[in-house]
Amino acid sequence: MPTNYQRLQPPVDYIPRITAQYSGLGYGEYQWLQSEDAPAWTPLSKPLSESKLGFICTGGIYSAGQTAFHFKDDTSYRAIPTDVNVEDLRATHFAYDLTDARKDINVVFPVEQLRTMVDEGVIDSLAPDAYTLMGGIYSTRRVVEELIPALVDRVLADEVDVVLLVPV
């Protein structure tokens, strides 16, 4: 635990800071999602230790051999086998420092620690594929019309019991 509490700061307020940065760089006004209604709620159907987990990550992660993401409202996704060799994983993105992700992809695509969770019995198993996205998509309409239906279909087809989302 830190001893110099006077140096601690509250959580960073990213919305005003990133909005200002994007505008300053001529990206246009980014519309942050502001949900007005409480989210839907689905209770777990079985204990976590008996559950199959799927996961979805933004952050522009792809596997060698796959087409990389582009930086302008890319609404595509990649399926990455959860038994992938992490040495084959890559990250490209316009909006975060990639240094540590390229040192150890698990900081944004936590596949190795999730495999350990299976070994430890915290969860029963992983879905055969994880899905990766770019994120930072300006068009909410395109996310709703193009990306979300495809991902929901995938998640349902995988018959996972729970889904972990890992945004960057």
């Binding site: 830190p2 110099n4 960073v12 409480a38 777990l44 915290v122 729970v162 945004p167």
Partner: protein, 145 residues
């Protein structure tokens, strides 16, 4: 990502969203979330610290069973470093940034938003192009050509 989490939850699958941006996640309001106060680009941990990252994941996944209020957020106790000095340099306000254009004082990882695939290495581009030589591409799932 918040929209995706909400849609999957609505489709009948419980979700949990990791977050290192508390205000963004609160605004998006997914069913369950876990906040880790780390710099962006480290949603799931620190590089080459597998034991730390496993502990973070263990505590994260526990929220699937500990959170019971729709839209609630758990806070993890981990700190990035002994001090929070890293927060001084994150997306600093533009006024301050302009004043320091000559000697950049703040982190700025923005790059132009190209609309062509951005490969980490040239070899990746070659490999991706090679995988499209055949009649059937096995890795194109989710890509709208």
């Amino acid at each position: 990502m918040g929209l995706i989490a909400r849609a999957i939850e609505e489709a009948g699958v419980p979700t949990l969203s990791m977050s290192s941006a508390r205000d963004i996640t609160r605004s998006a309001w997914p069913a369950r979330s876990v906040y880790l106060d780390y710099p962006l680009g480290h949603t799931a941990g620190q590089p080459n610290k597998p034991e730390l990252n496993e502990a973070i994941m263990r505590d994260t996944l526990a929220a699937f069973e500990s959170l019971s209020e729709p839209g609630s957020m758990a806070h993890l106790p981990y700190r990035w470093a002994d001090t929070d000095d890293w927060k001084d340099k994150v997306f600093a306000p533009m006024e301050s940034k302009k004043a320091s254009d000559d000697s950049p004082e703040y982190d700025d990882d923005r790059v132009a938003r190209y609309d062509t695939p951005q490969y980490q290495t040239d070899d990746d581009q070659t490999a991706a192009e090679h995988s499209h030589d055949g009649e059937e591409c096995l890795v194109c799932v989710g890509i709208d050509y």
